[in-house]
């Protein structure tokens, strides 16, 4: 037993070690402008930290990402509920949701720059790319409800509020978390891309600056931060999900 725990804990670390070695080998072969070494990347990261640029940019990025993400959950959940519960509303809104979903991000980005001015672009882009995910998942959650449970509640004359809060909401919760997990993954990618093209502050903007100055190590450092951001928020979400869904485990 002890051995297998050691193995299961050690394997990912071993994988990371291989990655670092491969990275270092590539860095030895190429110019630092093409592939900076792990050490150079670490130095760039430290520089960002010491000069305070890291917090300035990353703080803004996090605020924008969470803002857009929160908007999509806060607006998408009731819209999804309404669409799932009411066939007329659903038929009315379905084409719009699908259209929003298939419209390329770059189109939203350009349109947002024209419509809102530059600083609101990342928030809008995150919102518009994640809200269809939330809506569609919530509808699916409602569709998959056991109709016998709803009939049971109605037979026992349970009021509408309890039906919503104690039957529909718990039913859609796992679907909402699944949507939020995918949406968070999209959030940090979308926010950085929007910042790259539209703003002067934020991780994306920092990458833009680094690209102009040919500071590839700094591009690597920003990327590293985005990955950490994605991993941390996903872990946090999973933790909350586990706390809320005790009924599914023993």
């Amino acid at each position: 037993m002890k051995n297998s725990t050691w193995l299961s804990r050690g394997t990912p670390l071993l994988g990371l070690l291989f990655l670092l070695i491969a990275w270092q080998l590539l860095a030895n072969l190429y110019n630092p402008v093409i592939v900076p070494s792990p050490a150079e990347t670490a130095r760039a990261l430290t520089d960002l930290l010491i000069t305070g640029r890291m917090w300035e940019h990353a703080g803004t990025t996090i605020a924008r990402g969470l803002m857009g993400f929160a908007m999509s959950v806060i607006i998408g959940t009731p819209v999804g509920l309404l669409m799932g519960l009411n066939p007329v509303i659903r038929r009315l809104l379905q084409p719009h949701v699908v259209t929003i979903q298939v419209t390329p991000i770059i189109s939203w980005l350009v349109l947002a720059m024209i419509w809102f001015g530059f600083d609101k672009v990342p928030v809008f882009v995150v919102f518009i790319t994640t809200v269809p995910l939330v809506i569609i998942n919530i509808i699916q959650g409602i569709e998959n409800i056991d109709p016998q449970l709803v009939e049971m509640a109605k037979t026992f004359q349970v009021d509408k509020k309890s039906l919503l809060m104690e039957v529909y909401i718990p039913q859609i919760t796992p679907y909402l978390f699944a949507a939020m997990s995918v949406a968070l993954g999209t959030t940090w990618k979308a926010v950085a891309m929007a910042e790259f093209l539209s703003t002067s502050i934020g991780i994306g903007a920092g990458m833009h600056q680094a690209k102009i100055n040919l500071e590839t190590a700094e591009v690597f450092a920003w990327t590293f931060l985005l990955i950490i951001l994605g991993l941390t928020t996903d872990r946090g979400l999973q933790y909350i999900n586990r706390r809320l869904s005790g009924w599914r485990e023993d």
């Binding site: 026992f156 004359q157 349970v158 009924w247």
Partner: protein, 237 residues
């Protein structure tokens, strides 16, 4: 007393019930026996007010509070044993009393120790017992039971029948119990209505006045009834 007179009902163009007439007596268990898919559940749905007869009348239902035991347990998986009961009882019973009612019924069904368990941790029989708890605890003048033990194996079924008679001995409530299982009807019913095949009407009515505790399927009277009921039902297939 609930009286059905010449009730006719078609569903999807198929005649399900034809000139159905019977009475449900207060404080008794009425068992409806019949082949599968003959309109037993439709009868129950009409008693519950979920379906209306095409013609004919049902009297004695106005203002009657109804409780229901389903074929399946139909428990909310995200609520504990206790909270599944709170969910349906919080409308009709206010709080300090509700907890007492819940505790009493959980104790009667031997589920007190499991009140904080989620349904997924319960066995099939325990889930069905909780579903019975819900049906009995929900304030009612009429309890409709739609083959609630259909999916249970024979020994568990017998245990559950005992649970129902135990509850009935305490509450003396009016029950309409649907089944296609002859022994179940013999052990539970005061009045047995045998349905014909579709379109259904009552082809035979039997009464059993032996108290539940003294019913023995091996006894001469019940064995004779068993034979009679089986041959009536066989005829309908």
């Amino acid at each position: 007393m609930i009286v059905l007179k010449k009730v006719n009902k078609s569903l999807g163009g198929i005649k399900v019930l034809q000139n159905l007439s019977f009475t449900v007596e207060r404080g008794k268990i009425t068992c409806i026996l019949g082949p599968s898919g003959c309109g037993k559940t439709t009868t129950l749905q009409m008693l519950a007010g979920l379906e209306k007869p095409d013609s004919g009348t049902i009297e004695g239902l106005s203002g009657v509070q109804i409780s229901y035991a389903f074929q399946e347990p139909r428990l909310l998986p995200w609520k504990t044993v206790e909270d599944n009961l709170h969910f349906v009882l919080k409308g009709p019973i206010p709080m300090p009393e509700r907890q007492k009612v819940i505790d009493r019924y959980l104790k009667l069904m031997g589920l007190s120790a499991y009140k904080n368990y989620y349904p997924r941790a319960l066995s099939g029989g325990m889930k069905q017992r909780l579903s019975l708890c819900r049906a009995f605890a929900f304030p009612h003048q009429l309890l409709l039971m739609d083959e609630p033990f259909k999916s249970l194996d024979a020994p568990l079924r017998l245990t559950m029948i005992k649970e129902v008679t135990k509850m009935w001995d305490i509450n003396k409530n009016t029950i309409v119990f649907i089944t296609h299982d002859v022994p179940e009807a013999l052990l539970l019913g005061h009045k047995l209505l045998v349905y014909s095949a579709k379109p259904a009407s009552v082809q035979k009515e039997l009464t059993i006045d032996i108290p539940h505790g003294q019913r023995d399927l091996g006894s001469k009277k019940l064995a004779a009834m068993y034979g009679q009921l089986i041959s009536l039902l066989e005829k309908e297939y």
